[in-house]
Assembly symmetry: C2
Homo-oligomer: 244 residues x 2
DNA sequence: CGGTCGAACTAACCTAGATCAACGCCCGCC
DNA sequence: GGCGGGCGTTGATCTAGGTTAGTTCGACCG
């Protein structure tokens, strides 16, 4: 069980928030189990599940979703490589939502028993993981603000800005372009819009030269304008150090 | 510094989720500092603050809010007595949002230094507090679902159901009635609606015999219908035991 | 090589909710 | 005892986004 390269994104991510000792790094290295592949559209977790482990996203993209009784689907967060998609299931045993693979994903489990043991033996690491779940909450709050106060174009702009910064920070985006396997239907489920209207907004932003989103490839020709349209302020993502 | 009655709602709340030892109870009892009063409309925390303590709501109601550049205000959670309103500030130092008193409030601080010490010495308690922040995230997710998928009337119905169950669980509501100092403007800021439309929806539900909301006093004549209108399922609130 | 399926795109029409503008009520204040 | 400011209420009008019902195009497949 030597440390696999799987874990390095997690170490990088936590170390960006606060310094990690060598010992802490080696504890993290022992946390993840064997990798597993999930095809596009597959479910990593289903609502109501009581998993015995939390799932770490090694590569690919997935999203948390909830279904409504009348057939609606709302995506409540998009996860990028380096994220724990359901770390909170350590505390809240039964999943209140599912997680769907947007494209092909590689995931690795971290057993709850090990995580619980970690909270006993390594409180500083535990606080860093706690912070991960707290940042999820901050992302949710920000999405609530955009849903409640901004129109479709602003919401879309905000989402693209958030994804770009998070991917950039994970080393998966640069030069204002990135690729992500989300269809216009998926976007509608994130933004609370119909696919038809997503398309209209997308065409509109394209014509204004603010955004290209074609075949999973996103290009941002005018970052500043997109930021101001989406009223995007990245503070809530806590991508810089924030000692805990 | 003997234990004040201030702390008992917190002990009750945590004990509802998992058994607490006498020693854990006494640690909690030593956590809260002296009470402070905040008048209606006052700010418990402002965006950008870096508080050295987390604020516990002893009595009254408050709400987390974010402001947008064009003058909008979005309330992202309503807090009821027994809630920590900014427990996450222990991890995420700088506040990404503010907290406003909806009516007169009594609050008590828990020093971050003490909380951090608690995570070292009492991991089980730490996990219970972690769960508190995780439940906040679940509430945010549920609100995202209602914002994205439900119309004004359903959103309002859902909010009232959530408030009733949370207040009931805190011993502050029974017989399908409770009082809460929220104006129609506040409701609009929660639901992402204009006060005008909140009023129309309220009048409508009143005429249908589903809901009375007058002068801060809420009455639910037909709980089942309100639940089904709001598609309310209380699981996400974790009001029952959920061993951690 | 035609057939099917998923995804992007388009157009015509419709409604939930916003906007704007009053008006009444109550309560605290000068 | 008048008066100004929240708060609730109402009506007329407007618009962002939903609904319905397509077309197009490329990828895969038998």
């Amino acid at each position: 069980m030597s440390s696999s390269p799987t874990i390095t994104p997690l170490i990088h991510k936590l170390a960006r928030r606060d310094a990690l000792s060598d010992e802490e790094r080696s504890v993290l290295a022992g946390l993840l189990g064997p990798e597993r592949h999930v095809p596009a559209g597959g479910l990593l977790v289903e609502p109501g599940d009581r998993p015995g482990f939390s799932t770490f996203l090694v590569s690919g993209f997935c999203a948390r979703y909830s279904l409504t009784v009348d057939g609606g689907r709302q995506l409540t967060e998009v996860n990028v490589p380096g994220d724990f998609v359901d770390l909170h299931s350590l505390l809240m045993r039964q999943m209140d939502h599912g997680v769907v693979a947007l494209g092909d994903c590689v995931i690795a489990p971290a057993a709850h028993a090990d995580l619980r043991r970690l909270t006993e033996s390594h409180p500083h690491l535990a606080r860093l993981l706690w912070l991960e779940t707290v940042v999820d909450g901050a992302i949710h709050r920000q999405w609530l603000v955009t849903m409640g106060q901004q129109n479709a174009a602003s919401r879309l702009a905000h989402l693209v800005c958030e994804l770009y910064r998070r991917l950039e920070s994970a080393g998966l985006a640069r030069d204002y372009r990135f690729s992500i396997p989300m269809t216009q239907v998926d976007l509608g489920d994130v933004l609370g819009l119909t696919p038809v209207h997503v398309n209209r907004v997308l065409m509109d932003l394209r014509q204004q030269g603010l955004l290209e989103w074609r075949a999973g490839l996103v290009t941002i020709p005018d970052w500043d304008s997109l930021v101001s349209l989406g009223q995007f302020d990245p503070t809530y993502l806590r991508l810089q150090s924030d000692v805990v």
